[in-house]
């Protein structure tokens, strides 16, 4: 291996076509996850993401068994679960939290049992859960690209609606917007982002890519658009660096990418200006200090 400052170190892996495709994939996935993830974080929908991720798992297995398109199967099942979520959450005596818990564990169990019935090995389960970015085909890449375009267009077109519904649902309703329509759109976007991510970081770790970059960005800035931009940058950075690390040291790429995003979040939590733990601590000390003197 050549030196850290030698450009060859970074260019040489690019000669491998699978590495080039992988880099493109993590970039696209980072963009779409950070974009949708920003709204997930702002609305506190982490658990909904968790539920949709499990639903996608069942959908992928079903599609795999029926020989259909994995992405299509995943999406159809995720939409079904999103709809059930709405119906169940409204039932008295259940509560949204429990409804989500029941639905996602049910769909995951279904996926596991079907995978069993199909007699595919443990390796398939591991691939679905942890992803394999270096196995991304050109076709997968095209599908991911399409997801990115659709999501970007949807967010740009509906930006102000998504923001109003997130910030002040009561006002949104008073302005005549149906919350179920806009929540539905967001759920579809989450499902799309998770679908795009499952090939690269895997179904289980996709949630991390949805949450960690957006949360980190939120700690670092107080404006919405810069927050989204920074989340995208962080997600793409984690993806690219994680992929290189995975290439050089032969560790699985999905966990490497997720650990990097997690490390970024940890750093921001500690050292972010104004919001960070260290910053708050210093300010508190200063306040105590000045109070002791006066």
């Amino acid at each position: 291996m050549s030196g850290v400052f030698d450009p060859v170190t970074y260019l040489q892996p690019l000669q491998q076509p699978f590495m080039l495709r992988g880099l493109l994939a993590v970039t696209l996935v980072g963009i779409v996850c950070a974009l949708v993830g920003s709204f997930v974080v702002l609305r506190g929908l982490a658990f909904v993401g968790e539920a949709l991720r499990h639903a996608l798992f069942a959908g992928v297995v079903i599609a795999f068994l029926m020989g259909g398109s994995l992405v299509g199967g995943a999406l159809i099942f995720a939409l079904l679960v999103a709809w059930l979520l709405g119906v169940l959450g409204r039932q008295q005596g259940i509560g949204e939290d429990t409804a989500i818990g029941v639905l996602f564990s049910a769909s995951f169990a279904l996926g596991i049992v079907l995978l069993n019935v199909a007699r595919t090995g443990a390796r398939d389960l591991t691939t679905i859960l942890l992803g394999n970015v270096l196995g991304v085909s050109t076709l997968d890449l095209a599908a991911t690209g399409a997801v990115v375009v659709v999501t970007l267009v949807a967010v740009v077109v509906c930006f102000k609606e998504l923001v109003v519904v997130a910030f002040d649902p009561a006002l949104a309703q008073a302005q005549g917007r149906s919350l179920s329509v806009w929540d539905g759109l967001l759920f579809v976007l989450i499902a799309l982002a998770l679908t795009a991510a499952f090939q690269t970081v895997g179904n289980l770790l996709a949630l991390a890519l949805l949450l960690a970059p957006a949360t980190t960005a939120r700690l670092l800035t107080r404006r919405l658009v810069p927050m989204i931009g920074m989340a995208m940058l962080l997600a793409v950075l984690a993806g690219v660096i994680g992929l290189y690390i995975s290439y050089w040291s032969n560790v699985p790429s999905g966990p490497a990418i997720v650990l990097l995003s997690g490390a970024g979040f940890g750093l921001a939590l500690l050292f972010a200006p104004q919001h960070g733990v260290v910053w708050s601590f210093i300010q508190r000390r200063r306040l105590q200090h000045s109070r002791n003197h006066s």
């Binding site: 974080v41 506190g44 982490a46 658990f47 993401g49 968790e50 169940l88 039932q91 005596g93 259940i94 509560g95 939290d97 429990t98 989500i100 818990g101 029941v102 996602f104 564990s105 049910a106 995951f108 169990a109 279904l110 596991i112 049992v113 069993n116 019935v117 090995g121 443990a122 390796r123 389960l125 591991t126 859960l129 942890l130 289980l204 770790l205 949630l207 991390a208 949805l210 949450l211 960690a212 949360t215 939120r218 700690l219 560790v251 699985p252 999905g254 966990p255 490497a256 997720v258 650990l259 995003s261 997690g262 979040f265 939590l269 972010a272 919001h275 960070g276 733990v277 708050s280």
Partner: protein, 284 residues
């Protein structure tokens, strides 16, 4: 296909030591899951339960690689994650649900990375993820019984404190109870339950055994002790059925148990809402 109406169908599996052990362990797990699951459902802790289920993973992997006790490793990892989540939640900068989502996925990624260094990775991973009732060894059964006993004993001893802190933390504080310590106790009990369940239902499905029987019981009865009892009973029945299905159809026991519990939940839900509609129709 076994004959459903013949006694032999039900007795045959029981003659195997393997099945006896597995069934006993699974039923102990179902009972403590029913009791702890009631707290999970009442307090809306489904996501935390799910996260702890995943977060025990790196601990189990480290214990596996170092040849230590797997369950002890899992317990330590689960408790560290729970502590980290509550600390981050307390800074007030990040929503608790977001913190849960980030911490457990990162913990899981860490575990997966460690495990990837080991040759037996995929098989060991899937065993932990989805469990296998028939792989319960005698010493595992002993440990499960021990954990089960400890959890039930602690719930019995601290029952009124746990209920108070779940229902009205402010009142608990006003009565001079240490709320963080009681919450810590609840989370520790939850982590213990999850660790005990690893072997039978696996760590991604344990949340199902926590949430589904308790949610079903809550639809049927009102008082908290009744919900706990019914949840434990329903969980045990589904476990029984699930183990038999898993034995005859040769599918993952965890998945079969959870799908049974789900079936019961949706039946109860449908019957209940049909009856409600009937009532409303009669009243209107």
């Amino acid at each position: 296909m076994p004959n459903l109406f013949e006694l032999q169908t039900y007795l045959e599996p029981l003659s195997l030591r393997l099945v006896q052990r597995g069934l006993l362990a699974a039923i102990v797990v179902a009972i403590i899951c029913g009791v702890m699951g009631t707290f999970v459902v009442v307090r809306g802790l489904a996501f935390l339960g799910d996260a702890l289920g995943h977060a025990v993973f790196p601990g189990v992997v480290i214990a596996y690689l170092l040849n230590l006790n797997l369950l002890a490793g899992g317990l330590v990892a689960g408790l560290i994650t729970a502590l980290a989540i509550s600390l981050v939640g307390r800074t007030g900068q990040v929503r608790e649900s977001t913190a849960i989502g980030i911490f457990y996925t990162v913990a899981f990624a860490f575990g997966a990375l460690l495990l990837s260094r080991s040759r037996s990775a995929p098989r060991a991973l899937s065993e932990l993820l989805i469990g296998n009732v028939l792989a319960v060894r005698p010493e595992d059964l002993q440990l499960t019984l021990l954990i089960g006993g400890v959890v039930l004993l602690l719930v019995w001893a601290f029952y009124k404190e746990l209920v108070l802190v779940s229902f009205d933390p402010q009142q608990a504080a006003a009565l001079g109870r240490n709320v963080p310590v009681l919450n810590g106790l609840l989370f520790t009990l939850l982590a213990l339950t999850i660790v005990a369940s690893l072997q039978t239902v696996g760590n991604v499905l344990v949340v199902a055994l926590l949430v589904i029987p308790a949610a079903t019981a809550r639809l049927l009865v009102g008082p908290l002790p009744a919900v706990m009892g019914l949840a434990a009973l329903l969980g045990s029945l589904c476990t029984f059925a699930g183990v038999y299905i898993s034995y005859y159809a040769d599918i993952a026991s965890g998945g079969a148990i959870v799908l049974c519990a789900c079936g019961v939940f949706f039946c109860v839900l449908i019957v209940r809402s049909a009856r409600q509609r009937l009532h409303l129709g009669v009243a209107g």
